[in-house]
């Protein structure tokens, strides 16, 4: 494969964050959709549902952040 200019590190950083963001993206989507459903069925429990949804989204998003940190470390360190 002649003609590759640039490091393979750049490619590695790109792939790390690209694949790493698929899972949490899907996860947050599923979480939010279930929360919306629950909110529609029981609007009185809205504060509880909202709080727990934000908590669960924080956990899932942390996984995407791990992938981002790995990509940044590959690129800059």
């Amino acid at each position: 494969m002649d003609g590759i200019t640039g490091d393979i590190k750049d490619l590695a950083a790109g792939i790390a964050i690209a694949i790493g963001a698929i899972g949490p993206g899907l996860g947050i989507g599923i979480l939010a959709s279930k929360a919306m459903e629950a909110l529609g069925r029981n609007p009185e429990a809205a504060p509880q549902i909202q709080q727990n949804m934000i908590l669960a989204i924080a956990f899932t998003e942390a996984i995407a952040i791990y992938a981002l940190v790995v990509a940044i470390i590959i690129k800059f360190v």
Partner: protein, 349 residues
């Protein structure tokens, strides 16, 4: 209608002047080349006393602390039953949090957990919001191309990948002005222009009034460094386990070293211990990743769309900074209340 046209005109102007326009020969606003550094930098080239260095994120934490202390002193100096405005504001935010703490942790433990939870929230939100003020990341001293090239040699990096910014004058305090992005200069170019033996260099190198180097900022947002977030995470987890031990005694250790429920119980205990460690790491990296990625995003957007590109992303930064502070404190609260619940149901086997 006129506002829409004016907005579109400003957008096209800044797009043409920025990085996109410079590909067509138009880049007149020439925003500075982004220089992204993971580790925090020292604010003076030489150590202050002995080998002690002050980093710019340390200054960021000091500014956050000073702001919090000023707000607390001003709001509690003359407390009255009918609160003044700033006392009312502080009371409202504290009341929101103590109600939240009571609803998650129960009445018994809420007063005990509340100081740490509120402190973590206030510190993290202040540090995040202070870090996007103007002046952060743009004012600093200039590390000359000589030192940058030395550093790159020392770390064995490819010199043609290390980009330098170009400044017109170098003083004790420098500001990143537009104009430093027009001239693309890498560390390799610098080395070619300043060879070890001083023979005559060609005119392609910079004029005498221009210096190539890297701006090292004086101020940086406190949580863009792993050390700060790790410190807050260690404090939070140590306090969670301290509360677990002080509420449950040795029963808290019995959750992790569990001989009562047979070999599966033992295995589950080890898994729980590993997940405690994973919580520490996830606290650290969640806050660090969000704030550092926000800073990198701001730097990159300031380079791509100079005048107006920052505006929506500053909004995102405000939101993300507040949410991350809230999440850190609420997760600490949830772990603390889980640690103070004894597993009484296991005794029914």
């Amino acid at each position: 209608m006129f506002i829409v046209l004016a907005a579109i005109a400003v957008l096209v102007f800044s797009l043409a002047g920025g990085a996109l326009g410079s590909a067509f020969g138009l880049g007149f606003l020439s925003a500075p080349i982004p220089h992204i550094q993971l580790a925090a930098e020292n604010i003076t080239p030489n150590p202050i006393i002995g080998s002690f260095n002050i980093t710019n994120t340390m200054v960021g934490t000091w500014i956050a602390i000073i702001i919090l202390v000023i707000i607390s002193v001003v709001s509690t100096r003359k407390t009255s039953l009918v609160p003044s405005r700033i006392q009312g504001f502080v009371e409202v935010s504290l009341e929101f949090f103590i109600n939240l703490t009571k609803s998650i942790a129960g009445e018994r433990h809420a007063r005990r957990f509340f100081p740490l939870i509120m402190t973590i929230f206030l510190f993290v939100i202040t540090a995040n919001w202070v870090g996007i003020l103007p002046g952060f990341n743009t004012i600093g001293w200039i590390e000359s191309g000589h030192h940058v090239a030395e550093h790159a040699h020392h770390l064995e990096k490819d010199l043609s990948q290390v980009k330098l910014q170009v400044f017109d004058e170098v003083g004790p305090i420098n500001v990143l002005m537009p104009g430093s992005g027009n001239i693309l200069h890498t560390a390799q170019d610098w080395e070619n222009c300043h060879p070890k033996d001083s023979h005559h260099v060609s005119d392609d190198c910079l004029k005498d009034t221009q210096h190539a180097g890297v701006l090292v900022p004086f101020l940086r947002s406190a949580n863009t460094e792993i050390n700060t977030t790790l410190a807050i995470a260690i404090v939070a987890m140590v306090m969670v386990h301290f509360w677990g031990f002080s509420t449950l005694g040795w029963g808290h250790a019995g959750k992790f070293i569990n001989f009562k429920d047979g070999p599966t119980g033992f295995f589950v205990g080890i898994l729980e211990a590993i997940s405690e460690l994973a919580r520490l790491i996830s606290f650290t990296f969640r806050l660090f990743g969000n704030v550092f990625a926000g800073e990198v995003l701001l730097i990159a957007m300031a380079f791509l769309v100079p005048l107006v590109g920052l505006v929506p992303f500053l909004g995102i930064e405000l939101f993300v900074g507040a949410i991350q502070a809230f999440i850190f404190s609420i997760l600490t609260l949830v772990f603390a209340s889980m640690a103070t619940i004894s597993h009484d149901s296991h005794s029914d086997h």
